[in-house]
Symmetry: C2
Subunit: 338 residues, 2 copies
Amino acid sequence: MTEQKNKQILLVSRPQGMPSENNFKLVEGPLSIPQEGEMLVRILYVSVDPYMRGRMNDAKSYVPPYPLNEVVNSGVVGQVVESRTSEFQTGDIVSGYLGWQTYAVAKPRQVKKVDVSLAPMTTALGVLGMPGLTAYFGLLDIGRPSQGETLVVSGAAGAVGMIVGQIGKIMGCRVVGIAGSDRKKEYLINELGFDAVINYKTAANLKNDLKEACPGGVDIYFDNVGSGISDAVLSLLNFQARIPLCGQIALYNLEKPDIGPRIQTQLLINSALMKGFIVGNYADRFHEAMPQLAQWIKDGRLKYKESIVEGFENIPKAFLGLFTGENLGKQLVKVSDL
Amino acid sequence: MTEQKNKQILLVSRPQGMPSENNFKLVEGPLSIPQEGEMLVRILYVSVDPYMRGRMNDAKSYVPPYPLNEVVNSGVVGQVVESRTSEFQTGDIVSGYLGWQTYAVAKPRQVKKVDVSLAPMTTALGVLGMPGLTAYFGLLDIGRPSQGETLVVSGAAGAVGMIVGQIGKIMGCRVVGIAGSDRKKEYLINELGFDAVINYKTAANLKNDLKEACPGGVDIYFDNVGSGISDAVLSLLNFQARIPLCGQIALYNLEKPDIGPRIQTQLLINSALMKGFIVGNYADRFHEAMPQLAQWIKDGRLKYKESIVEGFENIPKAFLGLFTGENLGKQLVKVSDL
């Protein structure tokens, strides 16, 4: 294997506002050689996720910024092609944060084995990975849904939103999605059983449409999006409403501060709770969630959807597509066949 | 008694922005006569509280609006002067929501006996009443202070803020107050043991001053005030910070929506929790709080401060003073001697 080249995509400049392909550079170089205790992984799929935009800024966030002129870090699934550790065998399918490259040298603690008998390997980056765990803990631990309550989820057709809505249905909620196209709307209603979905791009009056879709008000608002979409939802909160704050994708590419009506009064008059979180806060409870998510998939109660772009060089384009709403479900890039 | 007149203060128009004395009218009329099962209460002290401003609007809030041309409802302490119920004796000191008037007819369920052997009767409207319980549950249940954490409290010299800060000290926190005069600042530091207090009216740069006063960041922000003061505090949140939202007094008299930077990003990047509440949410736990508050008072660990205006006709003025920052501690109006 070692005569092969490694391709990498580097972050070469920090985006101002909406990123462009010019912020990234594809480079080719020699393959690194695994040392004793390491393994060489051929990457099969890479993940592109909205949170990565935050790491491209040189600013405090819940994760440190990406360094310039280094490989963009991200979740991947790959296959061990050379192992110098007894913990992994050549041929093992693994997942970990190995970045936008075609090969990576990894230590055992950087990856974990993917059980492909449980579900296809790509689910390790979606419903059985970070997005699925994010949906699970954000909704169940912060949202605390009860039978008969109304759950609104923004970014409903994204990797996380789609799972949130379905777990909401399993918990007996009325589930209302907010998404950005009629194709997404139809998918969520017809395939995933959402009770109503509002296309915010074509809504004449988002607040009125939401009011109609939530005749009993809003008990839980799982927020992936922020901005004016959230203002509309927050005006419909019920007493003791819960708002898991998962993302604010509408803001990630803003060049000016996001100004709007301050929300504290809405929270105050409704005794409502809002809580930001990242999935890492729940790392010691992942073992609870994984079997439950897998069981729901097996029972046909939880469906997952992936948008897969082919070709290593298309990673930046797939990443940019997250901000123009092109993906339905989890966006992945297929880098290599197994 | 019944040959005496009753004085009442009515809400006769809804304030637009800052209320004025013209929104109220003092009227005199005959005393009502208690029926079988009722009692006549001579009111000794009435309470004026910031939350009452919200009830003067004709808008949804956590309590229904005050009806026009009726007595302004509020907490009071009074003495039973005629009892036609076996549950209360003539001479009993009672507290309840009997409103801005000199006499009231009350049913037993509207009032409770004040144990004047425990503390002076006025504390039933302050540290052993609604403000004390608000501070207790908001800080302990939502704020969840730990030894060594930093607690910031806005409206620190008000009835609630003052108690919040002292309970914070009892819990081992570094306590930083925000208040509106140097007199308040000195009182909080010298008499109540706050670690630092910032006079937001004279601060050249509130955020810088806060940063200096909170070198370890902010773990808990107990918010009575809102607006730009909160923006400054929220910029200093630590990971997993908690923000009990108790009031937004800076906003109560605004005539336009309160616009500012949306706060969700601050909550998201810090996995922070913000929760609105009203003391009534904890009604089934008041019995836990009362003996603890009384014990802290007895031990000298919890001090209370009252600002008492004399004279029934001065009630509206005392109420208006809440919004210009005139009160230090709990604002009361003494209506009658015992």
